[in-house]
C-alpha cells in the first residue's frame, strides 16, 4: 500500500481534481467562449476612441485635425482594423445567442430562433444605414 494514501476503512477519501489555469485551451468551444469574452475589450476600446473624438471636437479645430491625422496613421489603422474584427466577432456571437436568452411568444407559439437572430441583423443593418446616411449626406 502506498504510504501517502492515508486511507482508513469505512472513511471515504475523495480525490479532488485541480482545474488548470489553461482549462479554456482544452476544447475549442471553451476557447471560443473566452474569445467572445475577451473581445469585449475591443468594444471598450472603441468607446474610448469615440470619447477621445468628442473631446478633441469640443476642444478646437487643431485638436480635431490632430486626432484625424493620428487615426490615419498606419499604427491606428492596423489597431482599428483588428479591433473591428474583434467587435464583429463579439457582436455576431451575441446575435446568435440572443434567442436563448430572450423568448418571444406570439400567442402560445414561441418565435423561431432564426427570426430572433434575423431581427438583430435587421436592427444592425438599419442602424448602420442610418449612421452612414447621416455621415455621408453632406
Amino acid at each position: 500500500m502506498n504510504a501517502s494514501a492515508q486511507y482508513t476503512l469505512y472513511h471515504p477519501k475523495w480525490y479532488r481534481r485541480h482545474v488548470s489555469v489553461w482549462w479554456w485551451l482544452k476544447t475549442w468551444s471553451y476557447t471560443k467562449f473566452v474569445l467572445r469574452e475577451l473581445t469585449s475589450v475591443s468594444v471598450a476600446y472603441f468607446a474610448v476612441v469615440a470619447l477621445w473624438q468628442v473631446r478633441s471636437l469640443a476642444c478646437c479645430a487643431e485638436a480635431y485635425t490632430r486626432f484625424l491625422r493620428l487615426m490615419e496613421s498606419p499604427f491606428f489603422l492596423a489597431i482599428n482594423l483588428i479591433a473591428l474584427i474583434f467587435v464583429l466577432f463579439h457582436a455576431l456571437t451575441w446575435f446568435h445567442l440572443a434567442p436563448r436568452a430572450m423568448v418571444f411568444r406570439l400567442g402560445s407559439r414561441r418565435l423561431p430562433d432564426k427570426l430572433v437572430v434575423g431581427m438583430n441583423y435587421i436592427a444592425w443593418i438599419v442602424l448602420s444605414a442610418l449612421i452612414a446616411w447621416i455621415m455621408l449626406r453632406g
Binding site: 494514501a5 480525490y15 481534481r17 482545474v19 479554456w24 468551444s29 471553451y30 467562449f33
Partner: protein, 247 residues
C-alpha cells in the same frame, strides 16, 4: 471490421493509491454496444473491482454519466461505434470529487437541488372538494422542456464556472427552479428568485452554453439561466422604481 477495442479507464482505489491512474482493457467490439456494455464486460470478465454507477440502460435514470473521450456523456447512450478505432478514454464526471474509480460524490448537487425548492409551492392550498389544479397544454408547454431533466449532472461536468467556483448552484438546479417558476400551479417564484439571485446563483453564469450541448434530454439550462437573469433584472428594476409597491 475490428473485433476488439481498447478502453482506457480511470481507476482510483483510495486504499491503494493517492492519485487516480489509468488502466487499459481490451474489450470485444460490437456494433450495438455502448460504453456501459464495455464497462459491464470488464466488470464481469476482466476485473470485478471496477466501480461505476448505472441502472436503467436507457437514458432515463441519469446514473451512468461519465467523461467519454473528454466529453460528458451518458455511457448508456455513447456507442463504441462512434469512437472508432479507439482507444476510448473513460473518466469520472469532471469537477466532482472522485469516491472510487468512476464513482463521484453527489451530495453537493443534491444539497443545491433542494435549496432551489423544486416542488410546487402554494401560498394557500385549495380544499380537495374544489378539485384538481387544471392546466392547459399551452401552460404545460411553458415548462415541459425543463421538466425533462434527469439529474444526470452532465451539465455540471460541462460547466467551467462550476469547476472554478464550486459554490455555483449550477445549470440543472437553476433549470429545475425555472421548471416550477413557469408552472401555472406554482406560487413560489418570488421565493426561488431570492435564492437564485444570491451570489452563488444565476449571476455566476457567464453563458458558456456547454451545459445545453451536454444535456442528453434536450433541456436548455443555459437558456433557462439567461431568461432567469432577465426576470431577476426586471424584478430588481421594479423594486428600485417602485420601492413602495409589491414586486
Amino acid at each position: 471490421m475490428q473485433s476488439t477495442l481498447m478502453l482506457t479507464v480511470m481507476r482510483y482505489r483510495p486504499e491503494q493509491e493517492a492519485e487516480p491512474t489509468f488502466q487499459t482493457f481490451e474489450v470485444p467490439y460490437r456494433k450495438d454496444w455502448v460504453v456501459l456494455d464495455a464497462l459491464n464486460h470488464i466488470k464481469d470478465n476482466l476485473d470485478g473491482s471496477l466501480s461505476y454507477r448505472w441502472s436503467c440502460r436507457m437514458g432515463v435514470c441519469g446514473s451512468c454519466g461519465m467523461m467519454v473521450n473528454g466529453e460528458p456523456k451518458l455511457t448508456c447512450a455513447a456507442f463504441l461505434s462512434e469512437n472508432l478505432p479507439g482507444p476510448i478514454r473513460v473518466e469520472p464526471l469532471r469537477y466532482f470529487p472522485i469516491v472510487r474509480d468512476l464513482v463521484v460524490e453527489l451530495s453537493d448537487f443534491l444539497r443545491k437541488l433542494k435549496k432551489v425548492k423544486p416542488w410546487i409551492i402554494r401560498e394557500e392550498e385549495k380544499p380537495l372538494s374544489e378539485g384538481e389544479y387544471s392546466q392547459t397544454p399551452e401552460q404545460m408547454e411553458l415548462y415541459k422542456q425543463f421538466s425533462m431533466c434527469i439529474n444526470c449532472m452532465l451539465c455540471y461536468a460541462a460547466c467551467p464556472v462550476y469547476g472554478l467556483e464550486p459554490s455555483f448552484i449550477g445549470p440543472a438546479a437553476i433549470a429545475l427552479a425555472q421548471r416550477y417558476n413557469k408552472d401555472n400551479r406554482d406560487q413560489g417564484a418570488e421565493e426561488r428568485l431570492e435564492i437564485c439571485s444570491e451570489h452563488d446563483g444565476i449571476w455566476q453564469c457567464t453563458f458558456v452554453g456547454e451545459c445545453t450541448k451536454a444535456c442528453p434530454k434536450g433541456v436548455d439550462p443555459a437558456g433557462a439561466i439567461q431568461q432567469y437573469k432577465l426576470v431577476g433584472a426586471m424584478a430588481w428594476f421594479k423594486s428600485w422604481l417602485l420601492p413602495w409597491g409589491e414586486r
